[in-house]
């Protein structure tokens, strides 16, 4: 049951974090270490891509909640992409879905990011 994390910087302060495999009480610490590095005031948005996450338990959920809490305090945001049915069910059980911002597809995320970039460029003019 391995877990693998990759992080891609899309723009200044915007990261797409893809976590694959099993995020459980054995692997969450390694995940948390990698996420902690991104939890600075310079981070505006982390999008967790869960397309390849096959298993999630409450230990993993805690890392997502912590990231959201820390970023919220510095004006940043956490969003989610591609929730697989069993991952979605865990979030449903703890009643997290209503307060989560979820992109249903990469296209939806790209449209959102394009709009954000446009805003930044227009703001600079």
């Amino acid at each position: 049951m391995t877990m693998n994390v990759t992080s891609e910087q899309k723009a200044q302060g915007i990261f797409i974090v893809t976590v694959a495999g099993s995020l459980d009480s054995n692997t969450y610490k390694e995940f948390e270490k990698k996420i902690d590095v991104l939890l600075s005031e310079a981070t505006e948005l982390i999008v967790f891509n869960l397309e390849f996450l096959t298993y999630l338990s409450s230990a993993g959920v805690r890392v997502f909640l912590k990231a959201r809490k820390v970023l919220k305090n510095s004006g940043g945001q956490v969003k989610f992409l591609n929730l697989q049915p069993q991952i979605k069910r865990v979030f449903e059980i703890i009643n997290a879905i209503p307060s989560m911002q979820i992109f249903e597809s990469t296209e939806e995320l790209d449209r959102y990011l394009d709009a954000q970039m446009k805003k930044v460029i227009e703001g600079e003019d």
Partner: protein
Amino acid sequence: MKTEFKLKNDLVEIERLAGRVLSFGREHDLPDELVWEIRLVLEEVVTNIIAHGYADRAAHAIEVSIVNSENDITLSVRDDAQPFNLPEHPQPDLEIPLEERGIGGMGVHIVREIMDEIDYKREADGNVVVMRRYKY
């Protein structure tokens, strides 16, 4: 119809637990959804014991059994940890926004949502929790 195994009180054992559950599921041809539920419930219960059950730093054994019957799956977890009455543990308030909610109790809540019956017994030297999931 039954598998039994012992885990040490170390979170690296969660990987072995998952492996045992997945092979039990394959041997008994259980649906993926049910195997996932068994894995999640056992992980939450065992993690809780390892994280909160012991006042010392000594090695302890946690005994797990999975029984596949015609109408249900029965999971039993026996430990020598401090008393912890899982079915009577206070329910977290799920209406409170996540940021304001205490994160404790999330695992116990998941267990209670998935399982249909949970029995708890305190024995002289530890806890026994027996959980049942109906198949139909």
